[in-house]
């Protein structure tokens, strides 16, 4: 299976303070790809590049096997999009908005859209400007799904929604993906929510893609180890991301990637004992990975100075 989204070495400068650097994404067809990162990491900028709103200063983008921006209209006709901020015309009613949107979508499925309309229980004659956050979220998802897209790009689609609406939206999304081999590229701050749905994860920080891998691999490979004492690590068979001294004892806490249980012998050979191996959930893994990246970056810059 190929990739629904492929970017190679994307660079983009946004003003003076922020730049995307060398972002190379691979989003497999049929995957639900969680795009994580703290505020200002570059998630929305990356999405805007994918949607063709901006042109990268360097690098290439292919979506659904087509080059962006050259074949943008063809790609957009097969892509559902939910932006970070609502953007619809405030004077139109819900029904008028759906009619307006469908006129531009060659693949619009009226029956499917009508069934979504009923499922979301949206009021047809309510003005867009008077919709609640939850109703707006539903309408945006309806517009994104109505054309039965092969790819969904969702930028914080559940931001600010209550848990009931959030679950409802995610459930509709999952039903759609289950019925059809669609790819979902979703960015969110709600890490625990993505953990339930996503099978791939990519993590951004400060304009760079730190890692991307299958969710299970991400969760399995990151461990927190508690050691009896600190040891030197020549040719370690795992990657040591963070190393911290314990507060009250002589021991150390490590954050490692690529850990396997057989590696306790390697530590023992060096005179230390692995007292505890702690599995991390996505949120912990995400936070620790960011921390290790930032520590490494700080070390590098202090060496330079």
């Amino acid at each position: 299976m190929g990739n629904a989204i492929e970017t190679d070495g994307l660079h983009y400068t946004l003003g003076r303070g922020f730049a995307l650097e060398d972002v190379s994404l691979r989003v497999p067809v049929g995957s639900i790809y969680g795009f994580l990162g703290p505020n200002g990491a570059g998630k929305t900028t990356t999405i805007r590049l994918l949607m063709g709103f901006h042109r990268p200063t360097r690098g290439a983008i292919r979506i659904l096997d087509r080059a962006i921006p050259r074949e943008l209209p063809t790609v957009l006709s097969a892509t559902g999009f939910v932006p970070e901020r609502p953007h619809l015309y405030p004077t139109l009613t819900v029904a008028e908005t759906v009619r307006h949107h469908s006129a531009f979508q060659p693949r619009w499925d009226r029956e499917w859209a009508a069934s979504l309309f009923r499922r979301f229980a949206l009021a047809e004659d309510r003005r867009v400007s008077r919709l609640s956050k939850g109703e707006m979220g539903k309408l945006l998802l309806l517009l994104a799904l109505g054309q039965r897209p092969d790819l969904l790009i969702l930028d914080e689609p559940t931001e600010g929604l209550d848990p009931v609406v959030r679950r409802e939206l995610m459930s509709v999304l999952m039903d759609y993906v289950a019925d059809r081999t669609a790819t979902v590229f979703i960015s969110s701050h709600l890490v625990h929510e993505l953990e339930r749905f996503c099978d791939w994860v990519g993590i951004m920080d400060r304009g760079r893609l730190l890692t991307e891998m299958p969710m299970t691999q991400f969760k399995n490979s990151l461990k927190r180890l508690r050691l009896s004492t600190g040891v030197a690590l020549p040719d370690a068979p795992f990657e040591l991301l963070v190393r911290e001294r314990a507060v009250a004892t002589a021991g150390e806490t490590w954050l490692v990637r690529g850990w396997e249980s057989s590696m306790t012998a390697y530590i023992a050979e060096r005179g230390a004992e692995v007292r505890e191996v702690i599995d991390l959930d996505l949120e912990e893994g995400f936070v620790e990975l960011l921390r290790s990246f930032r520590v490494a970056e700080q070390d590098a810059s202090s060496k330079e100075t």
Partner: protein
């Protein structure tokens, strides 16, 4: 596509368009009634022409306002949404801009139509003195053209980014500042006059706004 864009633009501008249309209808009708009331029994040709000159400036003003209203309401909602919605639609940008432009042209026809009714009504019912003729079609056509010129200019500015608008305003402000400085130093150079002449006199693009705007003329 044009139908839904036209509907969306109409819904966003209908109140202002209604006002523009009402004014376009009212100016010829009210001015004819006012003159009729002033002149009591008979219409004096010279007085009628002078009165026509006095109110004539209203026609290009309404045409310019109509162009401005339609252009600003065409792009306003897209600007407020950062153009995200328009850019996410599966059609080339030039085509989207073209659809918006055509929808605006259709909307401009509403005030033009109202003016046609107003001028037509005056031409049919007013006791026009001998030697003078009513020109409802010519005035309406000129009004339509002026509204289109204004619309085209404002549409181009409104379609651009804030930076484009700022650049245009900056150039205008720069010219005014330069004129002030030159005048302060006693230089006999009239930059603003030159620019105004170039724009508002033939073959300038805004020549249509100048000259006589008379419904009843010799």
């Amino acid at each position: 596509m044009l139908r839904v864009i036209l509907f969306q633009q109409w819904k966003g501008s209908r109140m202002l368009l209604f006002l523009a249309g009402l004014t376009a209808f009212a100016v010829p009708v009210v001015s004819a009634s006012t003159y009729s009331w002033r002149a009591q029994s008979s219409w004096d040709p010279a007085g009628l022409l002078l009165f026509g000159y006095a109110v004539g400036f209203l026609y290009p003003a309404i045409a310019a306002a109509t162009g401005l209203i339609v252009a600003v309401t065409a792009w306003g909602p897209d600007h407020r949404g950062g153009h995200v919605y328009a850019l996410s639609l599966p059609l080339p940008r030039w085509r989207y801009a073209g659809l918006r432009f055509v929808a605006g042209v259709v909307l401009i026809s509403a005030p033009v139509f109202m003016l046609a009714i107003g001028t037509g009504l005056v031409a049919l019912t007013a006791p026009i003195p001998e030697g003078l003729t009513a020109y409802p079609v010519a005035l309406t056509a000129r009004f339509a053209l002026a509204a289109l010129v204004a619309y085209g200019m404002f549409f181009a500015v409104a379609a651009g980014t804030t930076r484009t608008a700022a650049t245009i305003l900056g150039v205008m402000a720069g010219l005014v500042a330069l004129q002030v400085v030159l005048t302060a130093f006693g230089a006999r150079v009239n930059i603003l006059g030159g620019v105004t002449n170039a724009l508002f006199n033939w073959p300038g693009p805004f020549d249509i706004f100048g000259g006589r705007w008379l419904l009843i003329d010799v």
